[in-house]
């Protein structure tokens, strides 16, 4: 049902270190950067997440309430993605941990990219 997502960037090239770091931590990679667009997905593809300038030519802007969730293979990968994202220009929206606090099957961390787009990286249990 979900085919792809575009995520607007104020400066796509400047945002690449953030997205490269987050995806690398969870088993993904940048498949291309061409014509001002960057495409991410699992190692080897296909790419389904595109970082790009907005279609309308206006400045990119993060939304509020809209969030893209990416599944990681383990809780360690969630921690690594959060740390790597923060070290690469992202901002913290929630430290790695179970949600809710006593959850045995959802472990997530929350970040915003440099533009302000919110993402979640999570692992599914049982733990």
């Amino acid at each position: 049902m979900l085919g792809y997502v575009t995520i607007g960037a104020l400066d796509v090239e400047q945002s690449l270190p953030f997205w490269d770091a987050v995806f690398a931590a969870i088993g993904g990679e940048r498949g291309f950067f061409s014509g001002g667009w960057a495409g991410y997905g699992p190692v080897g593809g296909p790419q389904t997440i595109y970082i790009c300038p907005p279609h309308d030519g206006q400045a990119a802007r993060g939304g509020n309430g809209i969030m893209v969730a990416l599944q990681a293979p383990s809780t360690d990968a969630v921690k690594a993605a959060h740390a790597a994202g923060l070290a690469s220009g992202g901002t913290d929206e929630g430290a790695p941990g179970p949600r809710p606090e006593d959850s045995k099957d959802f472990y997530g961390a929350y970040l915003r990219d440099q533009t302000g787009n919110k993402i979640c990286v999570y692992a599914k249990g049982p733990f």
Binding site: M1, L2, V5, C52, G65, I66
Partner: protein, 136 residues
């Protein structure tokens, strides 16, 4: 790594301040793509295909308590099974509180046979429905 943990978008939240207005829109627009509302609880609604009881698209008030706001540049692309589904998605969206951001039609720049339509939900979040023929 199992197929279930590939780093692709596995779910989404979409902010809405008025859940009734949002569900009117999403019930209609997503039904055109074969998706149904699995639940509505505590101001959240979850949508997915039959058998997805958790929901893959979750409509909710923003976590930080601030008003919901669409991003610019962020767009959710949803699979359609046919061009007719794309047409139905666009019509249902516009008839239920959405606005058109691009009428249904071929988008051959993206590939042969591609057929897309673009809408915004009542909050302004942008969505597309796309049909892509299976490779021969």
């Amino acid at each position: 790594m199992s197929a279930g943990s590939r780093p692709v978008v596995s779910y989404l939240t979409i902010g809405a301040d008025d859940i009734d207005r949002a569900t009117a829109f999403y019930d209609a627009a997503l039904a055109a793509l074969g998706l149904r509302r699995a639940w509505l609880n505590g101001g959240w609604a979850g949508y997915g295909p039959e058998g997805d009881d958790h929901g893959t698209i979750l409509i909710c008030a923003p976590f930080n308590g601030e008003p919901a706001r669409a991003g610019n540049g962020m767009m959710i692309g949803l699979h359609a099974a046919s061009a007719a589904e794309v047409d139905a998605f666009h019509a249902a969206a516009v008839a239920n509180g959405g606005t058109s951001e691009g009428p249904p039609g071929p988008r051959t720049d993206y590939g042969e046979g591609y057929y897309l339509a673009y809408v915004r939900d009542p909050t302004g979040n942008k969505l597309s429905a796309f049909y892509r023929p299976e490779p021969a």
